[in-house]
Symmetry: C2
Subunit: 461 residues, 2 copies
C-alpha cells in the first residue's frame, strides 16, 4: 500500500550515503519510520518511567526521580551532551485524601463523593467547609444567580461536549481553571467542578486552576462525571436544602528548585541553528502521567535514538528538552526561552508533543505564512501515515512549553496532533497509566515527528 516494495528496492539498489535519487526524502523518512516502528525504544522507556518513577508533580520526589530518568534516557539515545537548566517551580502538595458529601442529621456523611482537589488550590483547613450547594450549568447561570452564591458552595456541572472533536477540552476546562475565582467574586466558600472528560465513570480528573488575585482564594475540587450526575440528582431531590461538607488538605508550599532536562546532537553544518523538540516532565499526582506527558518525552527522545540508529547526522542542532512544570506554572518553558534570549541563541523551529499517545493525525503549525508555504507541500510525506492534517495559525499552534519561544523569537512551532478521543478519559486522573498507551500508536507519533524534524533540518524554515 505504501509502496513499501519500491522503497525497499531503492534502499537495496543504492547504498544509503552514496546514492541519492529524487526520492531521497521519502526513502529517508521511511527508513527513520521503519526503524522506530520495528526497533523503537519509546514504549520501553515509557514503561520504565511509569513503573520506576511514577507521578512527577513539580516539587515532588517523583519530579527529581523523573529528572534522573530523563538524563539517563537521553544518554542512552545517544545525546552528545546532557545537562540541566535550573528553574524555580511551584510546590503544591495534595495532602491526605479529600472528603466530600452531604451532612445529614441521621448519619455522618452520606451520600459521599469521590473528589480530587484541583491543583494550585488552597485547602479547607481541618474544619472543612460546610454549606449548601448551588448547582449552575455554566458561567451565564452563575451571573443570573449571583445573589444566591454568598456563603455557599458553587457546583459547576458543565458537560464535556462530545460533538466538539477537537475543542471540547478547551471549552470545558474554563470551569476548572477559572471557576473558583468566578464564584469567589460573589462570596462562594468553595467550588465543585464536573471533571473535564468524555468518560462516564467515577474517576475524578484534577488539573490546575488560576486564582484571580482580586478575589479570595477558595477551595476547589473536581468531582467525577458519575458523581456530578448523582450530586445533581440529589440536589433536585430531597437533599436540596442539606448541608454539604468538603475537606481538602492541599497546600501551596514555597517555590522549590526544578530543572529542564536537555540533551542534544550538534548540527554538522549549522550548529548555531537550533531545533527544539520536547514534552514535559511534570505530571499530575494521581497516576503515572503516561499519556500526559510521558508519551511526549519518550517520543522526543526517540527521534534522537532513531537518527543515531540509522546514522543520520543532522545539519542543525537537535535539542531535546524535557520541560519542567508545564502543568501548574509553565516555569520550565519560560526559563528555556529566557536562557535562549540570554545566550542569544538562534531557534529556527520548536516542536512539542503534549496531546497524548494516540494515532497521529498531523500538526498544529504556528508560523508565518511564508514558512507555512514551505511546510504545506510536505504533506505528501505524511499521507502514508494519515498525519497530513496541517492546521495553520500564525499566532500559535505548538504547545505551552514552546510558546515562550514564539513570544520571544517568533520561532516556528509544530504541535503533534493526535486523534485524541481517548486522551481526556485518562488525562489528569488515576488511570493515566502505561496500560492505557498503545505501543504502535506511540511509535507512529514519534515517526511523524522525526519525519518533520528531518525535513526542517534538511531544508531550514
Amino acid at each position: 500500500m505504501y509502496k513499501k516494495k519500491l522503497f525497499f528496492s531503492a534502499v537495496l539498489l543504492c547504498s544509503f550515503f552514496t546514492c541519492f535519487s529524487q526520492n531521497d526524502d521519502s526513502v529517508l523518512i521511511k527508513r527513520i519510520s521503519d526503524d522506530i516502528l520495528l526497533n523503537g525504544k519509546a514504549y520501553s522507556n515509557l514503561y520504565t518511567l511509569c513503573k520506576s518513577v511514577g507521578q512527577r508533580l513539580s516539587g515532588s520526589a517523583g519530579m527529581y526521580k523523573g529528572e534522573a530518568w530523563g538524563q539517563q534516557a537521553l544518554k542512552d539515545a545517544g545525546a552528545q551532551n546532557v545537562y540541566l537548566q535550573e528553574c524555580m517551580v511551584p510546590h503544591w502538595v495534595r495532602g491526605k485524601k479529600e472528603e466530600a458529601g452531604f451532612k445529614t442529621h441521621k448519619r455522618g456523611m452520606d451520600p459521599s463523593f469521590n473528589v480530587l482537589s484541583i491543583g494550585n488550590a488552597v485547602g479547607t483547613g481541618n474544619a472543612g467547609v460546610t454549606a449548601k450547594v448551588i448547582e449552575v450549568k455554566n458561567f451565564a447561570e452563575l451571573e443570573q444567580r449571583k445573589n444566591e452564591v454568598k456563603g455557599n458552595i458553587v457546583f459547576y456541572n458543565y458537560p464535556f461536549n462530545k460533538t466538539y472533536l477537537r475543542g471540547a477540552y478547551g471549552d470545558a476546562v474554563r470551569y476548572r481553571s477559572g471557576g473558583a475565582s468566578a464564584a469567589a467574586k460573589y462570596g462562594a466558600l468553595a467550588v465543585i467542578v464536573r471533571s473535564v472528560t468524555a468518560a462516564t465513570d467515577d474517576n475524578p480528573h484534577t488539573g490546575a486552576l488560576r486564582y484571580n488575585d482580586s478575589f479570595p482564594k477558595i477551595p476547589a475540587v473536581a468531582i467525577s462525571t458519575k458523581g456530578a450526575d448523582e450530586l445533581s440528582k440529589y440536589l433536585k431531590g430531597n437533599y436540596k436544602n442539606d448541608q454539604f461538607y468538603i475537606r481538602t488538605n492541599c497546600v501551596m508550599l514555597a517555590d522549590t528548585i526544578g530543572h529542564n532536562v536537555v540533551g542534544e546532537i550538534k548540527g554538522t553544518e549549522f550548529p548555531d541553528e537550533i531545533i527544539t523538540i520536547g514534552g514535559h516532565m511534570d505530571s499530575w499526582d494521581p497516576a503515572e502521567g503516561a499519556n500526559d506527558d510521558g508519551a511526549g518525552m519518550v517520543q522526543s527522545i526517540e527521534i534522537l535514538r532513531a537518527f543515531n540508529a540509522i546514522g543520520y547526522k543532522p545539519k542543525r542542532t537537535i535539542r531535546i528538552v524535557l520541560f519542567a512544570n508545564e502543568e501548574n506554572g509553565g516555569r520550565g518553558g519560560d526559563k528555556y526561552a529566557e536562557l535562549a534570549k540570554t545566550k542569544n541563541e538562534n531557534h529556527i523551529m520548536a516542536m512539542e508533543s503534549d496531546g497524548g499517545s494516540e494515532y497521529p493525525r498531523g500538526f498544529g503549525c504556528g508560523m508565518t505564512k511564508a514558512q507555512f508555504a514551505k511546510v504545506e507541500p510536505w504533506k505528501k510525506y505524511f499521507e502514508p501515515y494519515d498525519a497530513d492534517k496541517f492546521s495553520f495559525s500564525e499566532g500559535g499552534g505548538g504547545g505551552s512549553d514552546i510558546g515562550p519561544l514564539q513570544t520571544k523569537f517568533k520561532t516556528a512551532q509544530f504541535g503533534l496532533s493526535t486523534t485524541a478521543q481517548r486522551y481526556f478519559n485518562f488525562h489528569h486522573s488515576a488511570i493515566d497509566v502505561f496500560e492505557n498507551v498503545n505501543a504502535q500508536e506511540l511509535h507512529l507519533g514519534a515517526a511523524v515527528m522525526a519525519a518533520m524534524v528531518y525535513l526542517v533540518d534538511k531544508y531550514g524554515l
Copy 2:
C-alpha cells in the same frame, strides 16, 4: 473548528423540514452525527451484547443468544420489520483446553506453552501429536527444507510487520489460513503458527484455517507472540532435538442452522432500491467479540436509531443485516446474496463495518469509476471527522459479508476504514472484550457510516 456555531445557527434559523439551504447536507449530517455522539446507543448495546451474550461462534448456544439480542436491538432502534434468514452454518467446537509443550525424560511437559486451536482445524485425538518441531520463518523456507518436514511439527514464526500500517494482517494471516495444508503436503503431523498480532504478550489469537483437500487435514494451533519467541529460543538451544507434544480437542460437527438477522425501514420514494448495512453476528470463542464484530453490528443498528431519532425518512429502503458465520465459512453473506437473487432485489449499495471500533479514517470504496466520481466529491463532508480517506478499487473494498452482493449484482461497496493499530492486539483472542472499546470512537464510526448512507440514500449511486 467545525463551524459548529454556524451550523447551529442555521438549524435554529430554519425549522428542519421546512427550510433547506445550500448547506443542507452539512447541516443534516451534523444533526445525525451530533445525535449519535450525544445520544448514541451503540456503546450501551455493545455492553449488553458482550456481557449478556458473550461469544457467538457459529453453531454455539451463544450464536442463538446473539440472534435473539439482535432482533430485540433492531426493534428497539425502530426497524419497521425484523426477520431471520435461515442458513446452514459450520459447527466447529474447541473442546477442552489445549496442551502444548516439550516432552522431556526428566519431567512431564516442561516448558509448556499457551496455545489455541485454529478454527476449523481437526483435533489431535486423545493421544495427541508428539514429534520434533521444525521452525521456519516463512513459506519460502518451508520449500527449502521440505525434506525435513515429514513426521514432524512445522512452526511458522512469521512476524506481524509493524511497518505495514494497513497490510500487516493480510500479510501474516496466510500462515494461519494456509499453513496447515502447506506443511501437510510434505508430511507434517501438525503446525504451530505465531499469532497474527502486533502485540508482544502471552495471548494467543485464533481464527480460521482452510484445508486444501489434496492433502491430509492436520491439527493446527496458534501460539502467542511471547510463546513463539520463547519456543524459537528453545529450539535454537538445548531443546532442538526434543519431542514436542500437542493435544487439541476440537472437532468439526455437522452443519447446523444459523440465521442472518435483518431489520429495515422501507424507503418513502424508492422502496425497491435497497441499501444494505451490516456487521457480523458470529465471533470467535475465547472472548466477547467486542471489536470483531460486535462493534460493526451496533454501529449499523445505530444508523437506524439515529435516522428515527431525528425524524429522517429515507427515500430508499435501509436494511440492517447482522450476518451469520463470517469467521469460519461466510455462509451468511452467501445466503443473503442468494436470496437477493431469488427475490430479484435491486441492491444499490452495501456497507460493512468489520475493522474494529477505532477512530474512523474513511472508506474502502469498491465500485465503478463512474460511481466513485460521484462519491469522491463527498469527501468534504467527511473532513471534519478525519474520515476523508476514500480508497477506490473497482473489484472490492467493502468486506467479506457484502462481497457476494458485488459478485452477483456488482453492488457498490463501502467498507468502514479505521485507524486499526490496536485492533489486531485484541482480534480473535481472549482480550476482545467490551473494555477494549472506546465509546466516542465507536460512535464516530457510526456517525460517518450514517453520513455516507444519508448521501447515497439522497442522491443514489
